[in-house]
Amino acid sequence: MATADATALSSPRHGAVRRGLGAIFTRPGFRPGLVLFSLPLLGILLGALVLAPAGMDGAIRLTAPSWAHPFGTDNLGRDLFAHVLRGGRVSLAIGIAVAVLSTAIGLVLGLLAGFIRVVDAVLMRIMDGIMAIPGILLAIALMSVAGAGLVNVIVAITIADVPRVVRLVRAMVLSLREQTFVDAARIAGNRTGRIVFRHLLPMTLGPLAVQATFICTSAIITEAYLSFIGAGTPPDMPSWGNIIAENRIYFRGAPWSVLIPGCFIAATVLGINLMGDALRDALDPRVAKAI
């Protein structure tokens, strides 16, 4: 008993992390999500580390998948295997960058809006304004002003996604701040800053992590839209979106050139979303306990 106490007293935090991560594996949906996502992820790693950029070869334009070219070739005779796997790097980077940026910015703005009335009044009207414009249209407009480029795509999609995070965080803070435990924390003598960061912030992280996974996937799709209509990454930087865009006119003769990158987008998006759901459950101690 004494030794058990000693270990329990010395490691109060590690148990939570271990149990949280352990719980995520037992959630239905996590394993299929992991498998779905790991296929494109392996491909992306392979593309980034091993494969050389696909060269053009006029002799093998639009050939069907074969052993030499597992995904076939496109109109310029590029090997789609190398092209698609290298393109995934850009798509995934955009998804992750947008998720991290918009979550971080949205978290700060949402906490401010939830706690400071004046900020709330001004900031939320701006957010309403941004939300009034459909995200994809806003991104197209921003891209047309800023011009094609990786950073511009990330910035444009982030601007369109930030209000979703702000609204979520603000709503959580507004309901959490009225809870008795916040009063109790005040009564224990805690300062506002400490209450926000120690008590309220951790409670927003679960929903926020889930929101981040959805933003990541929707950013991947938005990037594909943008590239598809020519407002995304420049043509010399392959992404799943612009590979589909380049090949769509050959869809009848060479459907693989569109379907394969499409499947990569679908697997990535579905895989990340499934894991996001599992993460939500695992982060909630009440659900984690029930497993």
């Binding site: 106490d5 329990a8 007293l9 109060p12 148990g15 939570a16 809870q179 008795t180 435990f181 009063d183 109790a184 924390a185 005040r186 009564i187 224990a188 003598g189 805690n190 300062r191 400490r194 120690r198 008590h199 951790p202 409670m203 101690p285 009440r286 306990k289």
Partner: protein
């Protein structure tokens, strides 16, 4: 405890007035409230819902909701210092360290995603009662003091893994962490089972006796008051209507409202004695703020009301040894 300390007042509330709303539509919730809490005593603040008990506690804590509530009128003197004039930083230093509070709802008063141990440690570390390394053993010690079963395990648990009674014990442990001079207990047992209620009250009374902490017990349960309180303040519609020792209030109440409260407590065996009378109640309800008008606030519900009652609010006049009543007809209202 010396005689000198015994006679000192830990808290003196003088002419406290609390109003809500803007300047055009101010609603006065507590008016001209005066009482004192002596060192080491358990003072019960009794009254039905909406009479200003909880708001009074929040005012003492300096935590009235802003901007809905205006700055309270009157003085709240804690340990010789008027705390209504203190700035927020000074109040934060008092809260949790010198004045602690426990709530009606132990279900929601603990952070649901933080382990019990860390929540207790947070209070200890906030007021630098202990060094970082000593916080955990001290938290364990506090849980032992509130006689929680299996305290080592509780430290590692989340609030949802504990029963209501256990959570209230944790709240009490947190409240006592810094050895406060004054503990405000806002209906600490209302949300609990009857058997657990008795245990919790016993715990509070026991800790109060052993540590010499003054306790303000806010309740509407006269049964609890009878068992634990030293003195009673009966509040009605934001005012004190009667104050006396617990014996006097229970055995010889003078204010018709106090009499009504006591008559409306169900007693086992009342019917067997053959009276067969239904449980007494006080007709009507507390008039909402803004509709209290001039005159005695209780007169609409009072069987003893006369014309004079409508003219002015009766003063809280001394009636006997430590007994004060705010009723024009206090001399006539002897219950049979």
């Amino acid at each position: 405890m010396t005689a000198l300390q015994e006679s000192t007042n830990v808290l003196e509330v003088e002419n406290l007035g609390i109003a809500f709303g803007s300047s055009e539509s101010r609603l006065s919730v507590v008016e001209d409230l005066t009482f004192a809490v002596r060192s080491g005593e358990l003072l019960a603040l009794v009254g039905e819902s909406g009479c200003g008990k909880s708001v009074t506690a929040l005012a003492i804590m300096g935590l009235l909701p802003r901007p809905q509530a205006s700055t309270p009128a009157g003085r709240i003197v804690f340990e010789g210092q008027d705390i209504t004039t203190l700035d927020e930083a000074a109040m934060q230093d008092l809260r949790g360290r010198r004045i602690a509070m426990i709530f009606q709802e132990p279900m929601t008063a603990l952070n649901p995603v933080m382990r019990i141990g860390r929540q207790i440690e947070e209070v200890l570390l906030r007021h630098r009662v202990v060094e970082r390394g000593e916080a955990r053993p001290r938290a364990l010690e506090l849980l032992r003091q509130v006689r929680i079963a299996d305290p080592e395990r509780r430290l590692r648990q989340y609030p949802h893994e504990l029963s209501g009674g256990m959570r209230q014990r944790v709240m009490i442990a947190m409240a006592l962490a810094c050895d406060p001079v004054l503990l405000l207990a806002d209906e600490p047992t209302t949300a609990l089972d009857v058997t657990v209620q008795a245990q919790i009250m016993e715990l509070i009374a026991d800790l109060q006796r052993r540590r010499g902490t003054s306790v303000v017990l806010i309740t509407h349960d006269l049964g609890i008051v009878a068992e634990t309180a030293d003195r009673v303040i009966v509040m009605y519609a934001g005012r004190v209507v009667e104050t006396a020792s617990v014996r006097t209030v229970l055995e010889a109440p003078r204010h018709p409202y106090t009499q009504g409260l006591i008559a409306s407590v169900p007693r086992l065996g009342r019917n067997r004695r053959g009276s067969g009378a239904p449980l007494a109640d006080i007709p009507g309800s507390v008039p909402p703020p803004g509709k209290r008008g001039r005159g005695c606030v209780f007169r609409q519900r009072c069987a003893w009301a006369i014309d004079a009652c409508a003219e002015r609010q009766p003063q809280l006049d001394p009636f006997g040894e430590g007994h004060r009543v705010a009723c024009l007809r206090a001399h006539e209202t002897v219950s049979s």
